[in-house]
């Protein structure tokens, strides 16, 4: 067991180190930080609008940068190693293939988590900075100051960070799954994006079909059930928008979505390990 954990952590550590040393990811991170920081200079709004704008832009930057890093990183995980043939020198060791897949995934997820945390701290810093500016502008009116503080340092933002992280972790698991059957990074990225889009559209499409009464045929029902089962419902993560808009989302719902993500990640990694087991290198 210790040996197994040691091998998984070795692969994860190496993947993390590779991601950290990749200039393209650092550039993306800097770009996101500049975007988050730059949002502070849009000052034509009331403080409520201003904070909403900062949160909207901040979380959009986190999601987009995370998605790009997740896609690029995961796409390179296994096809990249096969193309560069570095996989030969790893899999010739007493390392199980599933350990390799899981280690790769954890390494990438750890890097994504680090990026999300860094960007979330940047959003938090910008909100704090803006809070100070508004507090100075509003003088010592305790009521206004309390409203500003409540808008700026909303603890629900932690829920949003958790949900962004869970969403990115599912995207990374999808990309890892495709990377175990693909021979090119383009295929992995294209397939992951396709499933990501289907995941966003599937619940809307299902509702449309239900309303139109087209699900009476059993074949359509089975098709919808299969799609719903195979493709994660990415609309669940729209809770992030609710939180950013200032609406209440209970922790239980957030944790349910995180649990849902965990189940999909587990299934995707198990499927990836099975696919990779029989593959000739």
């Amino acid at each position: 067991m210790i040996g197994c954990l040691r091998r998984i952590s070795a692969v994860a550590g190496n993947t993390f180190l590779e991601a950290v040393r990749q200039k393209v990811f650092a550039v993306l991170l800097v770009f996101a930080l500049v975007l988050i920081g730059g949002a502070n200079y849009f000052t034509e709004f009331s403080f409520q609008e201003q904070f909403k704008f900062l949160k909207d832009l901040g979380y959009a930057a986190i999601s987009l940068t995370g998605l790009l890093v997740g896609l690029l990183g995961a796409a390179q995980l296994i096809p990249g190693e096969i193309e560069k043939r570095t996989i030969l020198t790893a899999l010739c060791r007493p390392l199980r293939r599933w350990e390799f897949v899981v280690g790769k995934y954890f390494g990438l997820t750890a890097y994504l988590a680090l990026m999300v945390v860094v960007m979330a701290l940047a959003v938090w810093g910008v909100l704090g900075w803006k809070e100070g500016q508004f507090l100075r502008a509003e003088g010592l009116d305790p009521e206004a100051a309390a409203a500003i503080r409540a808008e700026a340092m909303d603890p629900r933002l932690l829920q949003a960070v958790l949900l962004v992280g869970a969403k990115l972790a599912v995207v990374a698991a999808l990309a890892v799954f495709f990377s175990t059957i693909a021979t090119s990074t383009t295929f992995v990225m294209a397939m992951t994006l396709l499933v990501y889009l289907i995941g966003h559209l599937q619940s809307v499409a299902r509702e449309q079909w239900l309303e139109a009464g087209e699900v009476s045929r059993w074949t359509v029902r089975i098709f919808l059930a299969v799609v719903a089962l195979l493709v994660p419902d990415f609309n669940l993560y729209n809770l992030i928008d609710e939180i950013v808009a200032g609406n209440v989302v209970v922790w239980r719902t957030t944790l349910e979505v995180v649990g849902y993500s965990g189940v999909y990640i587990g299934v995707l990694l198990a499927a990836a390990a099975c696919m990779f087991e029989g593959r000739d290198i």
Binding site: G3, R6, R7, S9, A10, V11, G13, N14, L17, E18, R21, K84, R85, T86, L88, T89, A90, L91, C92, R93, P94, L95, R96, G278, D280, I281
Partner: protein, 269 residues
């Protein structure tokens, strides 16, 4: 091989056995199946039929792979790592860790002469010879019984090539079994105990170099310090006794030896 591309039989009816402690050479032209045979032993490729065993374990299993250290044909290493990080990474993949691993990394880097600052440099700054030596240290980190080296000297300069040859001999002296492939036949001749010759996936020949290369109906003697007159007399005597002189004259040094002797001492090491 892929859709609509048909199948290629990379190896057919290959039977071979490598004894503990011997240096075994896999010879053959490109595409003869040397690398495929190695990959099958490592479990990276699955045979359509047949089986292999490594130290009593089915080839490709974790127990079998624990017995093998592998150095691929080209330095397929994560180049963002330094030499020391590479050996440490491979050590951890082999289940090692802690102070024991650190000690082993240091020892091996010293063994392949990448100790000190050289081991801290990123692999992308290494020469081909240095990369192969780092890879060799990585192959040795789990203290395997068997070393499998796929073209270990391909693309390496003569001095680096000689170093790798010396390392193979040193490993043999330590009781390790070495299986290696090479196109440099002279080098194989220098280090291998036994060889197998493959062609288009089939075995052509196999045996001890001594048995394969010795011309049993010829006899060779090297003489030093014999005056010219005596040499002529010896030739006449040999002819008189019915011997046919196949080759006669001053022996030539190997170009590799001459080249290495011409280099300054520090470049040779």
């Amino acid at each position: 091989m892929g859709w609509f591309r048909g199948r290629v039989l990379a190896l057919e009816g290959l039977e071979m056995e490598v004894q503990k402690g011997e240096v075994f050479g896999l010879l053959g032209p490109n595409g003869s199946g040397k690398s495929t045979a190695m990959k099958m032993i490592l479990g990276l490729l699955r045979p359509t039929s047949g089986s292999a065993e490594v130290c009593g374990f089915r080839a490709g299993t974790i127990s079998a792979r624990r017995q093998i250290g592998f150095l691929p044909e080209n330095p397929y290493f994560p180049v963002f790592l330094s030499g020391a990080e590479l050996v440490r990474y491979y050590g951890r993949l082999s289940g090692l860790g802690g102070a024991g691993l650190e000690k082993r990394v240091k020892e091996l880097l010293e063994l392949v002469r990448l100790g000190g600052e050289a081991g801290k440099r990123p692999l992308r700054t290494y020469s081909k010879g240095m990369l192969q030596r780092a890879g060799l240290a990585g192959a040795l980190v789990g203290d395997p019984e068997i070393l499998m080296l796929d073209e270990p000297t391909a693309g390496v300069d003569p001095a680096g090539s000689r170093e790798i040859r010396d390392l193979i001999l040193e490993l043999k002296a330590r009781g390790k079994t070495v299986i290696f492939s090479s196109h440099l036949l002279e080098q194989v001749e220098d280090v291998a105990d036994r060889v197998i010759i493959l062609h288009r996936g089939k075995k052509l020949r196999e045996g001890r170099l001594e048995d394969l290369l010795t011309r049993k109906n010829e006899w060779e003697v090297k003489v030093q310090g014999l005056p010219e007159g005596d040499r002529q007399e010896l030739l006449v005597w040999l002819k008189k006794k019915g011997g046919q002189v196949v080759r006669e004259g001053a022996p030539r040094e190997k170009l590799e030896d001459y080249f290495l002797r011409s280099l300054p001492e520090e470049t040779r090491r």
